[in-house]
Subunit: 354 residues, 2 copies
């Protein structure tokens, strides 16, 4: 299989973790007889510095022409005071919208060796394994008007959805549930929002096409509670963009493995952008100690979702599992009787396992 994988290292530790994932993907390619090429483009803060925009036209065009995109992280104190169109995260929002990546998949699953770092009691969090399917290109993020009025005496943002936007993300969630434990929790605020009422109707209608999946509706405030009190009750959660932003970050800290979590942002034809859930960690950037595993696991999601290479994806995931089981970890994690390694060493351990 021949694939073009566009790399968008971005800022902070982005470059380091992307290099690591690239080496892992090169190993996979060699072993399974594929050919991957890895052109690299600017996004975020580095793009602001070099091109005076967080999302250069070239980056958009080249990503559109690639088979998948692997992103590191964007942002850092250097650009925190910039005006809003020159903020690194505008690059991230822009590339999602430009590529039409409407489905954000965020699996949350603990590693037994890392569960001790969870803020939750082990008996509460043990066994939790959930997937948040977040709508990524609609809602409050892109709705118009989004503006001040009367010279700043009032302000509006708009939560808007087209019916087909809700239908396609809900469908993606049902499909995901079918591949997992056949349970779907749709999260909304139907007691307040008209958009949530429509969302609920569409979920109920779509449910008829997936009789094997049990469906539950939950209000977003109740879901925010239940994620903490009973995380194992969830299989797949589907929700709109802003609720998904909040709930997926909430969920990401449950298992004590924030530095390990991958994400995928997809559109219907398989093109996807893959990135770790963690940020650009400017405090440790350039020191060679960053944890590359979330990015490596993101590249496994790429193999699976964009290229349909399930065996290869599993091989990468298994390598990560084994290396953690052996006790190797970067300095952000702790494993009792484990060994602290740097980014390069961690990458070598993964490659060795492959």
């Amino acid at each position: 299989m021949k694939k073009i994988i566009a790399l968008l290292p971005g800022d902070g530790i982005g470059e380091e973790v992307i290099q690591s994932a690239k080496q892992v993907l090169q190993t996979v390619a060699k072993q399974f007889g594929h050919s991957f090429v890895f052109p690299s483009y600017d996004i975020g803060g580095v793009a602001i510095d070099r091109h005076n925009t967080p999302l250069p036209e070239e980056t958009i065009a080249e990503c559109k022409g690639s088979d998948a995109v692997l992103l590191g992280a964007v942002g850092g104190p250097k650009w925190d005071q910039n005006p809003s169109h020159l903020r690194p995260e505008k690059g991230l929002l822009g590339i999602r919208k430009q590529l039409g990546l409407f489905a954000n998949l965020r699996p949350v699953k603990g590693f037994p060796e890392l569960l001790h770092a969870s803020p939750l009691k082990e008996e509460v969090v043990k066994g939790s394994d959930l997937l948040i399917v977040r709508e990524l290109t609609g809602g409050l993020y892109f709705g118009t008007p989004s503006e001040r009025r009367d010279g700043g005496r009032s302000v509006v943002d708009t939560l808007s959805y087209e019916r087909y936007e809700i239908e396609r993300i809900v469908d993606k969630a049902f499909q995901s549930a079918k591949l997992r434990r056949n349970h779907l929790t749709s999260v909304d605020k139907a007691n307040v929002l008209e958009s949530s009422k429509l969302w609920r109707e569409i979920v109920d209608k779509k449910a008829a096409e997936y009789p094997e999946v049990t469906v539950e509706h939950q209000l977003v405030d109740a879901a925010a509670m239940k994620l903490i009190t009973n995380p194992t009750a969830f299989d797949v959660i589907v929700t709109e963009n802003m609720f998904g932003d909040i709930l997926s970050d909430e969920a990401s800290v449950l298992t004590g493995s924030l530095g390990m979590l991958p994400s995928a942002s997809l559109r219907e034809d398989g093109l996807g952008l893959y990135e770790p859930v963690h940020g650009s960690a400017p405090d440790i950037a350039g020191k060679g100690v960053a944890n590359p595993l979330a990015t490596i696991l993101s590249s496994a999601l790429m193999l699976r979702h964009s290229f349909g290479l399930e065996e290869e994806a599993l091989a990468v995931e298994e390598a990560v599992r084994v290396v953690i089981e052996q006790g190797y970890h970067t300095a952000d994690l702790s494993i009792s009787n484990g060994f602290i390694v740097n980014t390069t060493e961690m990458t070598s351990h993964i490659i060795e396992q492959l």
Copy 2:
């Protein structure tokens, strides 16, 4: 002091917990030489059954004429399938809006005897004591348009704020911080929403008037994480209506004392509506076993915020603390070597302590 306290028992266990709080308030009145009267009105499901509306005109008018309102809870399976204008929670939303109760105060503080019931590890949650100040009459909850378009092919809700609405809630939050540990976390999504940018500007401006208060801005997704990983880092949190709905429910499960949490919804002149954070618990309604302490603690907030009776408020809070310390608890809680009591017995214990 002569006060009219409008009681809105509502549904489920509402009647039981309101009766309990009323007895406590009567005891306070006798002891401290006040005169409270307690007219009672319908809201929620019972109001739908009796008047075919969740918020009868009489209820609105009488609450407007009272000095404070004490609410039990609304809702239950009986009305779950009703069309949206005949849903119990519309009564709650309506009374907040009609009375102009823009400031929702939700203190979250654990009881040492109950911390063991927290889903969080004791070392994470111990010592947490925070107050969420939620804007309650604006934002996505009441913004227009909120409607379907093109025959249901699209839908919009509107997040709208007037500048003065943001200013007054932010001011309330600064005032609250001054009475506590002088730290304010303002939560927004300023990297995406125009309303959040205005919110942030207003907070920064207001900060000049409160030099003793340290101010921090946090994105809502980061706040949702930090509430779990480091709840003791917060003192006062201020945020808009929907973010506040989600974060306050999230915060409510941290200390293992959901059945103990009070809330106050205020406007500038001191009129307030007080209610427990928990719901109507239809499964145990009418059995006499409901936990009245959240409602009793809500009435303490009433004494403090609406009547300025700090000493009386502290007396009630202290009575609750002592009774829990003695090991008395209703069936929803557990205390090692404690004693299970019913609603009436719990009420008597509190009254005895007073």
